[in-house]
Amino acid sequence: MSEPLLSLSNVTKEFGSVRAVDGVNLDIAENEFFALLGASGSGKTTLLRMLAGFETPTSGEVRLDGRDISHVSPNHRPVNLMFQSYALFPHMSVARNIAYGLEMERLPRSEINARVGEILEMIQLSDLAGRKPDQLSGGQRQRVALARALVKRPRLLLLDEPLGALDKKLRGAMQLELKRIQDQFGITFIVVTHDQEEALVMADRVAILKDGGLLQCGTPREIYEHPQSRFAADFIGLMNFMPATVADGALLARDGSRIAAPLPEGAHNGDPMIAAVRPERLHLGEGDHENRLRGRLIAKAYHGLDLQLHLETDLSQEPILVRLTASEAEGQALETGTAITLGWKAQDTRVFNA
């Protein structure tokens, strides 16, 4: 990575005795679509507000294009925020809302009109330019809020739960739309979200935040395939967890069976561990997989593309979740109540300290 656009070093924010953001280090490159993912209270919103300038770090530094902006006020940063509530000005029309930020830059009227017209066309709201925000649908308001921030051509666009207020179907379409717009404008996006699926679909890189600290940062694939902690593995996607102990280069499961898995360095015999495997990495039959498990099918759910099975096993108190593709499940007699054998590869097993 060349010179990063945004660089956070040891950024900490305390509210009284509460440490909302705790020593975050992060580099974000130009043109990246970055997601800050965390549950509520993880500090992701505070971090975003520090980037926008509404909060100043208690310690640490925020650098944009190499310049320390930690104490620059929001109206003097080349950074714009799309608010979760959209925060459209209720007394202004769509066009006036979008023009507002350009008027603050004291651009000539002709240029303002041209740029507003251009972006209205892009978000397909030219016909509604004269409407007030309360005469728009939720999806339209969201697009106006995005246009109002984008039209300023910021170095960095922050989006606070951008799709949170939309219904599920619209959200799916807007995920791709946001990605397309980001690509088209070539502006760095930082999205704050609690929705792991949203983060995986949209972002080039994802950072998982927990209790104010950065837990893991990487591409969606890295985070999904190689979670570095049990929390990350559980937070992103679905995961089966099986308690086990280290025994001679492999793991010994609760039921006494051996689980072949890549062990962490320095694991000693008898260390308690947790073996984890994604539901889609479990396959029907014994095949040539190193690991296998037997369980009783207690429930199955058809999801169109895949079939989800719940198995009762001796490996874990929780039922083991299996996702079979439609073609894999075809022609298989999967009666609830019957015993099923599944296999998985050693390399698909993740091992965490218990």
Partner: protein
């Protein structure tokens, strides 16, 4: 519990309204009575309104009232609005401030009047229209602040941050975002303040000082009434009342008609 039958409820309602509005209706009717006597109706006439227009004392008092009402409204509306916004921003500091601000609304007028009189005497201020204006600002401030604050309760503060984020300074944000969104409440507050000032008597009476130069309309009516209720007073009262009702209606309209997006 069984509720009272409908006819009885209607009767009580009718009596209540009669009690409230019959005296006012009589006053309005008498102001149009040609004879001017409360005992005999001799025909419809607007001659007492004409008499009013020729009465120099009344015109002078009306002028004074207008000056006091306008000046105190402008000052109270400006300060009251800023106060409301300021208090709302700092509201985490507790409710003590709110109590202090709204005190002039609750304190009896007579107490406020005496307090202001003592205050002005203590400072050796020559009293006149200016002291009435200042005194009216005192209670109007509380009313304007209350009306604007009611609106602020539903105000989405994120638009203030949005304005800053888009490059506006604090002052620009106040002028282009906060005030326009609040404007119906500000105008409503101003109309209320104007109305209250126009028919305020006790405080004006105490803080007007000696002499006839700073007599306001309610004071003039009070002075005239000592020689009996003349038809002119009825006419004058009708005008003042009509004006008050108009202002109050306008004020309530504005405050109810929420801005889009609120």
């Amino acid at each position: 519990m069984k509720s009272a039958p409908l006819p009885l409820m209607l009767l009580i309602l009718g009596l209540t309204f009669a009690f409230l509005y019959v005296p006012i209706s009589v006053l309005v009717a008498l102001s149009f009575n040609e004879s001017g006597l409360p005992t005999a109706w001799t025909g419809f006439s607007v001659k007492w309104y004409g008499e009013l227009a020729r009465n120099g004392d009344i015109l002078k008092a009306a002028g004074n009232t207008l000056i006091v009402a306008l000046a105190s409204t402008v000052v109270a509306t400006t300060l009251g609005t800023l106060l409301a916004v300021g208090v709302e921003i700092r509201r985490r500091k507790g409710r003590f401030l709110e109590t202090i601000i709204f005190a002039p609304m609750i304190i009896p007028d007579i107490v406020l009047a005496i307090a202001l009189l003592s205050f002005f005497s203590l400072l050796n201020v020559t009293m006149g229209l200016h002291t009435i204006i200042v005194s009216h600002v005192v209670f109007n401030l509380a009313f304007v602040c209350a009306v604007v604050r009611a609106r602020l309760k539903t105000f989405d503060w994120s638009v203030v941050e949005a304005s800053q984020d888009l490059g506006a300074s604090t002052l620009t944000t106040l002028r282009r975002v906060v005030l326009p969104v609040l404007s119906p409440a500000v105008v409503a507050g101003a109309l209320l303040a104007f109305t209250l000032s126009v028919d305020e008597f006790i405080i004006a009476f105490f803080t007007a000082g000696a002499g006839r130069d700073s007599i306001t309309l309610p004071m003039q009516i009070f002075a005239m009434i000592r020689f009996g209720v003349t038809p002119e007073i009825n006419a004058l009262s009708t005008i003042v009342m009509g004006l008050s009702v108009l202002m109050l209606t306008l004020s309530q309209r504005l405050n109810r008609g929420r801005l889009p997006g609120q």
